[in-house]
Subunit: 155 residues, 2 copies
DNA sequence: TTTAAATCCAAGTGAATTAATAGGAATTAA
DNA sequence: TTAATTCCTATTAATTCACTTGGATTTAAA
């Protein structure tokens, strides 16, 4: 019941992209260095985000990636589902409305899986990328204030 | 982001035990047949539930297992955590209150993991085994009514 | 026009984890 | 004494994960 590195690294990567890309393209190599993730592996992660329409790739020299839509309109749920596939705790066709499961009528545990699935998806859909960007900027401001305090106390 | 067979089979197994054990011990062999799970594998699952104090084992011939506490006092969360380990989406010391993580101050994604973790644990802690037992009995009643209808229409 | 920087893509690989299987020791009711 | 059962540990087959490798393609800039 753990997210893989796809989800963990991928969320860090797109947050990095959103924080550092102010209408400018960001090359994967920069994200790779800042986030300490292999550039080759990052390619695979960003490729999923691209297929999901979350980022756009710009090819060629000086190329890179940009958000395809504003950070206010991208939920963490969109990002994690693009990276990980569905966030359901089990593969159960009932959860997706298929109702082709042969033991559907005697299956009681499906109610449990449904409750877990809904709670996860509601949680991640309620957090927008822009919130994380704001939080991240706040955190970095605090650190630079702390550092300037330290510097001034040294004078 | 999937539960393993430990959680899925294990929940079915203890639900079977709760439904069929009315103050009587239930042998693993019976659960294994009804739930179509290898008895050897079931042993490993039930052993985790035993260590967590959820079931008691009674050794020897005519032995088996019983719930260690009433089904009303056992949450699905207790069961799944006993079987799977913690239900957190990532291994993050902050989530467990350790606060020894070196990148804690610049880590923004931890808020996401915390929200997911809380929502999962709240969901499973809000379902008691007794509810599943009731649901299961209801389902089986409905099936037997359906069958008696069928039988009477054949007369 | 060449070159270097970048995305894009598919296949391969080693390590780790999962899902069992196997075999036997210990216990106990009949 | 026997058969049924829990209890415990080790092994194994299959799968998944987390990358790595090796290119092909595109494009800005020299």
């Amino acid at each position: 019941m753990k997210l893989s590195t796809k989800g963990r690294y991928g969320l860090r990567a797109i947050l990095d992209l959103a924080v550092h890309g102010n209408d400018e393209v960001v090359a994967l190599s920069q994200i790779a260095v800042r986030q300490n993730i292999s550039i080759n592996y990052l390619e695979q992660l960003i490729s999923r985000l691209k297929k999901a329409g979350i980022v756009n790739g710009i090819r060629g020299a000086q190329g890179g990636y940009v958000l395809a839509i504003p950070a206010e309109e991208i939920s963490v749920g969109d990002i994690l589902r693009a990276l990980e596939g569905d966030l359901d705790p089990v593969d159960c066709s009932e959860l997706k409305g298929d109702s082709t499961c042969s033991s559907s009528d005697v299956c009681v545990t499906k109610y449990v899986w449904k409750r877990i699935s809904d709670s996860i998806n509601d949680a991640v859909d309620g957090i927008m990328l822009s919130e994380l960007v704001n939080e991240s900027k706040k955190v970095h401001e605090e650190i630079s204030i702390k550092n300037s305090d330290k510097a001034s106390s040294m004078c």
